[in-house]
Amino acid sequence: MEQILLFAVLGLGQGALIAGIALGVVVTYRGSGIINLSTGAVAMASAYAFWSLTTGFFGFTLPVGPAAAGALVVALAVGVLTEVAVFRPLRTSSPLAKLAGSLGVLLTMQAGVLLIFGTQPQQAPSILPADTITFLGLTIPSDRFVLTGLVAAIALALGAVYRWSRFGLATRAASENEQAALLAGLSPNGVSLANTLLAALVAGLLGVLAAPIVQVDSITLPLQVVPALAAALFAGFTSLGVACTAGVLIGVSQSILYYLSTQSWFPTDNGNAMPGLQQLLVFALMVVALYVRGAGLPRRGEAVEQRLPAVPLPDRLLRPALVAAAVAVVALIVLPFDFRQALTNSMIGMVIVLSYVVITGYVGQISVMQLALSGTAGFVLSHLAVRWGVPFPFSALGAVLVATLLGVAAGVSALRVRGVSLAVVTLAAALAVEQALFNNTSFGGTAGVTVPPPTLFGIDLGPKADFRGLDGNEPSPLFGFLVLAVTVALGLYVAHLRRTGLGRQMLAVRSNERAAAAAGIDVRAVKITAFAISSFIASAAGTLYGYNFGSVSAARFTALAALGLIGFAYIGGITRVSGALAAGLMSTGALLPHALEKWFGIKGTWALLFGGVSLVVTLIANPDGIAGAAHRRKTAKKAKSPEVFRGFTPVEVKEVTS
């Protein structure tokens, strides 16, 4: 019992950090209606700044006080930059675009930290007193209480500011009804900037103070935003008190859960502590929060109508598909081995992004879980093939079936949840699957599990097949052809889907669920079908991944990798198959990053930085993505030269008269 209490108190440190980030999330949401995924990254930036200033990383060492001040300046600078360069230009965009914008900030900051400080986790010195107090016979470091008290005081102070100051009134007015606040002479830009700065200050401060308790790194710290989002969901993205309390309690229960998992009666993973319990807890809490508080976030009366990227009818499918396939066939034979590998990676990346074209592009729902489904399919494939000896293609089909069913089950349980809430809860789900399932050695494990090559009628179709390219190296073009066939088939299917009745129903649901229901569309059935199709595609990509590397490991299917892929999907053009192609070429290990590294020596981290920045630029300047811009240029050219006009009037340039 005393042990439980001890762990509960120790958990206050983590809890204070979560509470501080949750306060940042709520403050930003109240100020600008943005669910800022990069709030945890602000804590990371200031923690790194504090660490580097106190440890002589830049060649000089500051005392703790000035270093902390410097770290807060860094947090504020990040806040200003985020507000001016990202949030302000996205003011009138859809909530999903705003969320993706904050994702761009998260990816950029993560890449920045990796480039400056490297991957090694660091230990920062403590500002808080290092003494201990004795409480109920337990010796407890006092900094835990100081931190918790500090976060509570911040929450109270913020609450007082919102309650009684003119600025607080303006914020409340703007979050109730932006349009009316605008008409009343309040500047939403000013309100938003002030709140973003407040949020950055709170998150940055907690980053500095909690840094000695949690380690300073570029993955765990930014991902603390996920438990913080759970706390914010309990608070309905409004109540500071609830967000703070829930954040602290989440940290405490994670710590207690950790203690329990070390007990002899607790189930173990082959003798080791069960992985991912913390993440499972956060996911479960989010589900509870959505159930208790309802699936909707508080609506804001935004000043401008928001539109999602357009989904034009494709006019020709077969010819471009055949041309692309022919180019790929030749490339798979003549290219040197490393580029063949990069091309195969690109195609698999494209297939995963195709699953986002269906669920996000056509139906308007962001599900971060899709990459976790790919991983599930990969691991199941390994088990089917290795443990039960199921031959290809039945092993692959079985794996796809299992993962698709999981995706449909997730979709059915998330039917009430839509838009931004869905993105948040599926992010927690992806993290839970990654930590609890993929890292569990009975299912996956960080070391990875092997996947035997696909063989059909005795012919090896895998990357080690006898038929080699011109340079005689692995991977075999045969495997490339297999991947190409799957990619072309799925690409054609997704493009064709836009022309079918089902595709129209999906877009109708995306536009307006009420009107769709009144038009006779079974909105739930359409969403479940979309989840099924998207999960099927993602699972197919997962089996291809497995064959591609001959093994499956958790590292490829992390929640952060999923966020990165969504970013690439947006940059390419999330509503189009051609956008998925562009995104596939940019994804990890694909042709573009490989060529950049090989020819210009640009490392993958730079690509991540480039990806984060171009995601923001895309959202602001060109929401339809690369593919959308290409489409616009093409239709504009067609309109100018009537001789290539082929019957379908490009609506963008048509004079509409009634």
Partner: protein
């Protein structure tokens, strides 16, 4: 025989009774008008009938009970509606908007379409476009239409389902007088061809000019019902629209 029969429908939001015991019948080929001051519960009534808000009472379509059915089932049984704010599917073209209601692909046709089989053009789409004179807009994108055009496309979308009943929620709002009269003429023709229409509108001359029967709502209750000529002179209606003093003949003091 009524095609649409609504019996004692009530809707409450918390303690507020938005609709109390409203009953209404629409026969095939009949054009029934539903009027009332702002906030009388007209749109709530359509939402209740089409299943978009939970309601007590009974809704029958062509003798079949629709009570408790979800909105899409009611729509598929032949109950179409338009929205006050003409909620078109902005990502689709005009003809695709109509196709969504005209074609209700079964699993079988959906599978066929997936395998590349072309579904034949649905004549209901061209027909509905022609009825409202929208042929030229067939390939336009819904989000680039003017407000008046959006209203008409909304009506065409309801028509394309070839429904038994259409509930029209202020289809003439945003149209000018001439356009409104033209829309009225076309709606009359739709009704005369056998579809039952329930028309909600603020344009008195439109409602009184084309409807066979008019129902008047005030504060969620029916205060008058009958042929236009009788409703026009009903003292309760005049009071609701012009203020209580109108019945006594003394002008209201501001």
């Amino acid at each position: 025989m009524s095609v649409l029969s609504v019996q004692s429908v009530s809707v409450s939001y918390g303690g507020v009774h938005a609709l109390s015991d409203v009953s209404l019948e629409v026969r095939a080929g009949q054009l029934v008008g539903l009027i009332g001051p702002n906030g009388a519960g007209k749109t709530t009534f359509v939402d209740a009938v089409t299943g978009l808000v939970p309601a007590r009472g009974r809704v029958e379509l062509d003798g079949r009970d629709l009570t408790g059915r979800p909105p899409h089932t009611r729509a598929r049984r032949g109950l179409a509606r338009t929205f006050q704010s003409s909620e078109l599917f902005d990502d689709l073209t005009v003809s695709e908007n109509l196709l969504v209601t005209a074609d209700r692909p079964s699993w079988w046709t959906a599978l066929g379409e997936t395998l590349g089989r072309r579904t034949p053009a649905n004549p209901a789409v061209a027909e509905a476009l022609a009825v409202l004179g929208l042929q030229d807009l067939a390939d336009a994108s819904a989000h680039e239409l003017s407000q008046g055009q959006r209203k008409l496309v909304g009506v065409a979308r309801a028509l394309a389902a070839r429904p038994l009943v259409i509930c029209l929620d202020e289809p003439a709002a945003g149209l000018d007088t001439a356009e409104s009269a033209e829309l009225g003429r076309r709606l009359r023709a739709v009704a005369d061809a056998g579809t039952a229409l329930l028309l909600i509108d603020h344009d008195m001359s439109l409602v009184m000019g084309i409807c066979d029967h008019v129902v008047v709502l005030e504060f969620g209750r029916v205060i008058a019902s009958g042929p236009p000529a009788r409703v026009r002179t009903d003292p309760a209606v005049i009071a609701a629209y012009l203020g209580a003093s109108a019945t006594t003949g003394t002008p209201e003091t501001p």
